[in-house]
Structures are given as structure tokens and as C-alpha cells.
């Protein structure tokens, strides 16, 4: 039988090990962040890699962003209608959907989609290069692997996500308008005229700033987990998993704090 003291020591030990591990991880991430920021603004700028990544992150995501946004807009219009119709507020669906889309849904859902689609690919890609010594091959040639692999991906995601978020906003509102006017029979003119009455440019700016921040966080987390990969296919799988999970969690957590800050500033 284990003595009580022993059980206590064991628990403290385990807890301590966990704390040390977490701090170590945080330290590694901070030094990675440092390195990426250092190499981001240093020549040579590899524009062709940046544009390749733009093509991958933005262009290749258009279809899925379109699909997600039109259905989000549609269902949101429908649910709002169910809540508002009884109160006689159904003509307010337009501005309600527009504001929530601009401030929250476009950047957050866009971020989640990009984390799943591109974050996963980034981690898997860099992770595979790590285990097959391609990252070492870059380093041996004297090329910084963070600059070569991470910087173009991060820069491209920071630029792409606000663009995708704007597209999400447009198509999402179109979906809402479609349901609102064609299915729920709200007058087309009423629907449209209410929007500028309530929606301000700062709502749109808030969404764009959020999208930029999310783009940075998603890509830096994904590339970090790619570089952390050790040992074969299993390691790549684990890295990809961590990249997506943390990317999504961080988007939702940071969204809360960012909303509080941006509401004060804007």
C-alpha cells in the first residue's frame, strides 16, 4: 500500500512536471515567435513563395468560404425571423444579420474554416519536411527554415483572412437576403434600406482587424506545431491535430478579449 506522504509527493511531482512542461512549451513558442518576427523583415523577400501561399490560402478557399457563408447567412436569417416575427420586428433581419456577420461571424467562422483547411495543411507540410530532413537540408544550405517556410505562410494568411472574411460578409448577407425576401416574404426595399440605418463602417473595421489577428495566430500556431514535429507519420498526425485544435480554440478565446478591446477603441 502506498503511504499518504508518498501519494502527496507523487501528486506534487506530477503537477510540477506538468507546470514545467507547459512553461517549456511557452518558452519554445515565444522564441519561435521572436525568430519569425526577426526573419519576416529581413531580406531576401521571397515573393514567389508568398504568392504561392496566397493562392493556396485565399484562392483555394473561396469555394468552401462561399458555401459556409451562404448557409450561415440563410440559417441566421431564418432563426432571427423566428425570434423577431412574433414581435413584429421581422424587417430588422437585414441589419441584425449584417452587424453580427461583420463583427463576429465572418472573421470567426472564416478563421475556423481556414484553421481547419490551411492550418492543418501547413502543420502537416512543415512536419513532413521536418521528419524527412528537408528542413535540415535548408539549414545546411544556410537558409533559415523559419524565414523560408513560416514567413510566407504567415504573411499570406494575415493578408488573406481579411479578404476571405469580406467575401464571407458579402455572400453571407446575400444568403440572408435571399431567405428573408424570397422565402420569408420581407419586402426587398425594406430589407435593404434598414441596413445602412444601423450598420456603421466601424463594425466592418472591427471584423477586418479581427480577421487579420486571427490570420496571424492561426498560421503562427500551425507552423510552430509543424516545426515541433518529431518522429515519423505519427508525429506529423499529432502536430496537425494540435495545430487545428489550438488554432480554433485560440480564435474563439482571443475573439472575446479582442471584442472587449476593440469596442473601447473604435
Amino acid at each position: 500500500m502506498i503511504s499518504r506522504e508518498h501519494a502527496v509527493t507523487k501528486t506534487v511531482e506530477l503537477l510540477g512536471a506538468k507546470v514545467i512542461e507547459t512553461l517549456n512549451g511557452l518558452g519554445r513558442f515565444t522564441s519561435y515567435l521572436n525568430s519569425v518576427m526577426f526573419w519576416m523583415f529581413r531580406k531576401p523577400y521571397r515573393w514567389h513563395l508568398f504568392f504561392d501561399q496566397m493562392y493556396f490560402v485565399a484562392n483555394k478557399s473561396l469555394f468552401i468560404i462561399g458555401l459556409v457563408s451562404i448557409f450561415t447567412g440563410a440559417v441566421f436569417a431564418y432563426q432571427t425571423y423566428l425570434g423577431f416575427a412574433g414581435l413584429g420586428f421581422d424587417s430588422f433581419i437585414g441589419p441584425v444579420v449584417a452587424i453580427s456577420m461583420a463583427k463576429e461571424l465572418a472573421p470567426v467562422l472564416g478563421g475556423l474554416v481556414i484553421s481547419g483547411r490551411c492550418g492543418a495543411a501547413m502543420a502537416a507540410n512543415i512536419g513532413t519536411m521536418k521528419v524527412t530532413e528537408q528542413v535540415d537540408a535548408l539549414e545546411v544550405m544556410g537558409i533559415n527554415s523559419h524565414q523560408y517556410l513560416a514567413v510566407p505562410r504567415i504573411a499570406a494568411t494575415v493578408v488573406s483572412l481579411p479578404i476571405l472574411s469580406s467575401i464571407f460578409l458579402l455572400i453571407g448577407n446575400f444568403g440572408s437576403w435571399l431567405i428573408g425576401t424570397k422565402v420569408l416574404a420581407i419586402d426587398e426595399m425594406t430589407y435593404l434600406s434598414k441596413i445602412p440605418e444601423f450598420v456603421e463602417m466601424k463594425d466592418v473595421y472591427e471584423g477586418l482587424i479581427k480577421a487579420m489577428v486571427f490570420g496571424f495566430l492561426i498560421s503562427i500556431i500551425a507552423t510552430y506545431h509543424g516545426f515541433q514535429v518529431k518522429g515519423g507519420a505519427e508525429g506529423v498526425g499529432r502536430g496537425t491535430n494540435l495545430a487545428v485544435v489550438w488554432g480554433m480554440v485560440i480564435v474563439l478565446v482571443v475573439d472575446f478579449f479582442l471584442t472587449s478591446i476593440l469596442t473601447l477603441i473604435l
Binding site: 513532413t128 519536411m129 524527412t132 530532413e133 528537408q134 535540415d136 537540408a137 539549414e139 545546411v140 544550405m141 544556410g142 537558409i143 533559415n144
Partner: protein
Amino acid sequence: MNIRDHDEYAIEFNNLTKVFGEHTVLNDLSFKVHRGKITTILGFSGAGKSTLLKHILGLIKPTSGEVIVLGRDIAELSELRIREFRKKFGMLFQYAALFDSLSTFENIAFPLREFTKLKEIEIQGKVGELMKAVGLAEHSIHKLPSEISGGMRKRVGLARALALEPEIMLYDEPTTGLDPITTKMVNDLIKETAKNNVDKRMTSVIISHDVEATLKISDYVAFLENGQMVEHLPVNEFRKSQNPIIRRFLEL
């Protein structure tokens, strides 16, 4: 930065010690690599061969002692200088480490595009020369690494490593995991590459545990055991070494 005389020796390790945590990987190791020759570093797995290789490239720094490469103390070079300095090296990785999204041509052209201002037509010419030098057929030029055999990949890896005309060629376990015919091909290729570059006094360092190949292609053989060089001899003398560890290794 003072550059020391490196006419005779390309690489010098002076009392090199490397400690990872509580584990001493290299222990007061002293050893010199002859310039313009093929030197193989033999040793059992875990003897510290890879750590030694990483020191040559400046990927890790010594705990104590010094590593002098081409007359320069690696520890004194800044991070940016070391990157610059690494252009003097070519390295062939165990599994070639080709960039799997790039074709044969783009893999070989990669260092040229990154580090030279050559025009496209000049790059094409240079890649053609390199492919010929390592015996790569014309038809493989647009193939991806996944579409060519292991032996071919080694050839592409070697061509890529030679693109910037390195002063030191490093080979990490070049024949591990290859079939006998491909092994012979890679060994011949190493020998051939050294011969082709003898006028430039290119130094070759091979990390290996393939005894047979080592004795065939090397000029010098060093034996690493428990973080120390237990023997370093011209190949003919190494064969006759009476050191019990080496006898055991040779008679496996």
C-alpha cells in the same frame, strides 16, 4: 576575424567536448581532417557521429574546446555569418532530403536560384552539367522525387549538394538501407566526385558504419567510440590496426 592556416587540414577539432543535459556525447575529442582527401568517420550507433557532423556545420556549438573549419573558429562566427559560411559545404543526406514538391531540375537549381544571380539559361546549363556529373539521365529532369528510385534520389541529392562547388562535401550514412548494387553505385559516385574535384582540393567527410565501403573508398579512417577518437589512420594502416575495438568492428 583571423583565418588560420588550413592548407593541410580542412577541419580541426581541438579538445572538443559536447554535453547534452547530463549526457556527455563528445569527450575531449581532438582530430584533424586532411584537406583534399576522403575521410570516413566510423563508429557504432550512438557514438556521437551525427553530433560531430553538426559541429562541423555550426548547427550546434561546443560545450568546450574548438572546431576550426577552413581556418575559422566556428564558435566565433555570428548566426548570420555561419549561414553565409555554410555555402562552402555540400551535404548528402541519408535519404537525400530532396524537396518533395520540386522536380529533379528545381531541386538541383535550388541553391543556384537562392544564392547566385545566374540567368535562367545559365541555370539550365549548370543543372545539365551537374546531372551529367552524377550520371542522371535527361528524362528524369521533370520528375518529382516520389517518382524516382532511391539510387536516383541520391544522385539528385549529390548534384544539388555540388551546385555551389563546395570546399567540403559531407555524406551522412550514404549507403545505409540501400541494396548492394545501389550501394556500389553510391560508393563509386563518392569516389568519382572526389576525383573530379581533386584540382579544387575538395575535402570529403563520410559518416558511416559500412566497413567494407569505407575501406574501399577512403583515404583516411577515423574511429569514434564513446565520444572520443580512438584511432585515426590512413586506410591501409587502419586495416592492420590492433586496437581490440576496431578489430571487433572489422571482423563483424
